[in-house]
Subunit: 168 residues, 2 copies
């Protein structure tokens, strides 16, 4: 799993707290999380391509969640950033070597038992990630993080909006 | 997940069919599966380091399973080849940036909620892989692969042993 998955989930958590008329540019999200802007921008573009976030143009523009936080799952974020492919890739090595059958053998009609077991495990992983939303993560933060720290984050985000509105 | 995981599980499946006095060298396992010998050798060394396979010296030597096939899980093989680390790595980015609290803040005592959700999903993945043994994979092969093809594989493996015994 790429580092950007971690960053992307954190970004979605921050974006979940924005007001209806607010958005945050990639550079500010990178600053807030202390991560490299160029790599984060790529992850945010992937999130937007997947319909998890949307990008608003203009001086008050930037990224927002494209859906309510309760409707963005961790799986949505992971697949947007790392791609839809399964971690286990079956290269059909059963069809190679001296014991291989004809390519059209009935033995190859079903996926290999090894691949099926691997993919079943990945389905379980995906089901767990699909069951947790960005809204759940925000809810958990609100009860587990010290109020003073939550305020510090909220104030920084609001200061970004205030300073952007003041621009000529 | 690395390609070698696929190769390693296939190798374990073949090793599960060997008689008590039999072993297969890495080069023969690579030949059987049509995969690059050097990369496969590395995977087999990892399996041996993890106690999944064992390496017997001598002219009749080679790799064997170190335990009965029913006691080698797919999880054992995956972790042996790809390492014990979780796919999701938490870099504690919550402790960076302008909203971070003091490093000894109570907010950081528990792992981040994002990391916990990611690791819970990985636990589900691991549980599925732990529940499937190499013995299960062999059992599934025996009922799903055409008998003629199973025989072809078994004959090739036996021919290796016969040719090795004939060496001066």
């Amino acid at each position: 799993m790429s580092d950007q998955v971690e960053w992307a989930v954190h970004c979605c958590t921050v974006l979940a707290t924005l007001g209806d008329d607010q958005a945050l540019p990639a550079a500010r999200l990178a600053e807030f999380h202390g991560v490299p802007p160029a790599y984060l921008a790529k992850a945010l573009q992937s999130l937007t391509a997947a319909g998890v976030t949307e990008s608003r143009p203009g001086p008050q523009g930037g990224y927002r969640l494209a859906r309510p936080p309760a409707e963005v799952s961790l799986l949505d974020v992971v697949l947007a950033v790392d791609g839809e492919e399964t971690a286990f890739q079956c290269s059909e090595i059963r069809q190679r070597g001296p014991a291989a059958a004809d390519p059209d053998s009935s033995s190859y009609r079903r996926p290999c038992g090894i691949a099926r077991a691997m993919w079943k495990a990945e389905d379980a992983w995906r089901a767990e990630l699909a069951a947790v939303s960005v809204g759940d993560i925000v809810g958990e933060l609100l009860v587990s993080v010290a109020p003073a720290q939550l305020m510090k984050g909220a104030e920084w985000i609001q200061s970004v909006h205030v300073s952007r509105r003041k621009r000529p």
